[in-house]
Amino acid sequence: MNESALKGGRVSNAIFHLFFVLLSIGILAPFLLIVSVSLTDEKALAEFGYSFIPSRFSLVAYDFILQSPAALLRAYGNTIFITVIGTVLSLLLTSMVAYVVSRRDYRLRVPLTVYIFFTMLFSGGLVPFYILMTQYLHLKDSLWAIILPGMLSPFYVLIMKGFMGKIPHELIESTKVDGASERRIFFQMILPLSTPALATLGLFIAFNYWNEWFNALLFIDNDKLVPLQLLLVRIMNTLDFLRNNSEYIQSLGLDMSQLPNESMRMALVILVAGPMMFIFPFFQKYFVQGMTVGSLKG
């Protein structure tokens, strides 16, 4: 239908494509630049600055990181743990409550709906949350402090409920007549039928967990529990600290010029963000489908 809608002809099409090509370049440029910097020799950086083509090619930065990969690997492990456990639990919790809310014949449907969605309107804010987590749930320095807070979002319940609400009620009724319990109906019939919605939502949730840094920033001090994103924050802060306290470094007898400082940081960013950058575009089409599953009104 699109092709037939075209009326303007080739000239305007060329202009549109030019627009998108320029836009794409603008969007990709930062990525290209960071890759280039990570592959540039440290001394060349000091001489010529950051540029799109490495002025002197070097793999030292990657070498340096991969020589002692313990911190990086541990951060990967933590992030993978958080993402997998978090996504599974979150999907389970979300789909269970979404299913109940989607059942028109459930007598407590209205109060339960209000109970869930009121939380979208008002929240206590950061401080009560912080105190709850640290003083009452004692979750400081625990990976659960990153997993638990993002586990249930009313918005995802809404999306899931929209999907489950479309499953014909007769299907549920007939299974019930056959003597199945509600729990069985949910786990053996509804969940398998909801696979598309679960996959889409799971993708969103997994992505959120993978990129999570806020709760890590608040609750994680222990070096062993640092996830990837927090690792990057810490590297930035440490290097700022070293740069601003040159006397301290001299007192330690460290030679800063030996460290492939700039290129190493950028190489680390690539090692942290790179894998996801390659994986996620393949899931893009599911994201697009997810948008229509949970489409807003209209």
Binding site: V100, I131, E182, L218
Partner: protein, 321 residues
């Protein structure tokens, strides 16, 4: 209080004569309740308990004494915040950035979505994939990407400036440039997603409108103006309401990381969220941070209810509830 009212009015709205019978729970209701129980407990702990926690804002909170043990101080925490010019600065920044971001993103995303619809599906997919990439990147990574452009000695922009004989700029020390920098960063990250939302809206429009318009001899531009944009109006309205509701909430990551959390930039990049975070974690002024957080939540609540009320008055279809 509010909640029970809402429950009552909600039940009344259902208004089925059936519900006049005593609502005794059947066994299936009990089983379903059991399924919903874990989530209900979760929501109680993580949402409702923190709502009760706002009383910290009226106390002089001390960790050793706990919430109940700490002494009441009335509105002193609020006074402390509102008497400084900080209150004005962070509120202004939060609201202005939100309004500005909404305008810029909506206009750009609409333009991109309309143009995407004008080119072939195959190509639009490629462009969308590229535009979607920044959506998958966290603000922490973007902090590094920004630095690569803005670094004083090595940064790409300063390289270019120098090549043209201009002075290098100390970006992280000059507040005046930051509204523009944050706008670019925000747009870069959000354009793919926003454009997709509008593009999905355009694709859903009944093609017969366009066919009819074409038979009447409408140009592409006329079709966009008279069909596409009006048909997207409900979507834009809903996004606007949601945006008004979160007018007092900013994107912590954008303002905190992209600016490198540089104290010299606070006046132009600080928002309520970053201010509360610093009050809590750096200066350790827990009660004042709680007061500011409560102020943020209350105003946000009033805004979203008010916005929804106004929209419902104008056109019920477009309101959130």
């Amino acid at each position: 209080m509010r909640q029970s009212e809402a429950v009552l009015s909600g039940a009344a709205a259902e208004g089925r004569p059936k519900s006049r019978r005593k609502p005794r729970l059947r066994s299936s209701d009990k089983e379903l309740s059991l399924l919903a129980l874990p989530a209900a407990i979760y929501i109680f702990v993580f949402s409702y308990l923190t709502m009760f926690g706002v009383i910290i804002a009226f106390k002089n909170y001390r960790y050793d004494k706990g919430i109940w043990g700490s002494e009441w101080v009335g509105l002193a925490n609020f006074e402390f915040f509102f008497l400084t010019e900080k209150a004005y600065i962070v509120t202004r920044n939060t609201v202005l950035y939100n309004v500005w971001f909404f305008i810029v993103t909506t206009l750009c995303a609409l333009l991109v979505a309309v143009l995407l619809n004008e080119i072939s599906r195959k190509w639009s997919k490629y462009y969308q994939t590229v535009m979607f990439l920044p959506t998958f990147v966290s603000w922490v990574v973007i902090m590094y990407l920004a630095e690569i452009f803005l670094h004083h000695d090595y940064g790409f922009i300063n390289q270019v400036l120098q090549a043209f004989g201009a002075e290098r700029v100390r970006w992280y020390l000059e507040p005046a440039n930051w509204p523009a920098i944050l706008t670019v960063a925000h747009l870069w990250k959000s354009i793919g997603f926003s454009a997709l939302v509008y593009y999905a809206g355009i694709v859903a429009i009944d093609p017969s409108y366009y066919e009819a318009a074409r038979i009447d001899g409408a140009t592409r531009f006329q079709m966009v103006r008279k069909i596409t944009i009006p048909m997207l109006a409900p979507l834009i309205t809903i996004l606007l309401i949601m945006n008004i509701g979160s007018m007092f909430r900013g994107d912590f990551g954008l303002h905190f990381f992209v600016s490198g959390n540089s104290p010299l930039l606070y006046n132009s990049v600080d928002i309520i969220d970053t201010f509360v975070y610093r009050a809590l974690s750096v200066s350790g002024d827990t009660s004042m941070a709680a007061a500011v957080g409560l102020y943020q939540s209350l105003v946000g609540f009033v805004l979203v209810v008010a916005a929804n009320y106004v929209v419902r008055k104008i056109n019920e279809e477009n309101s959130l509830w």
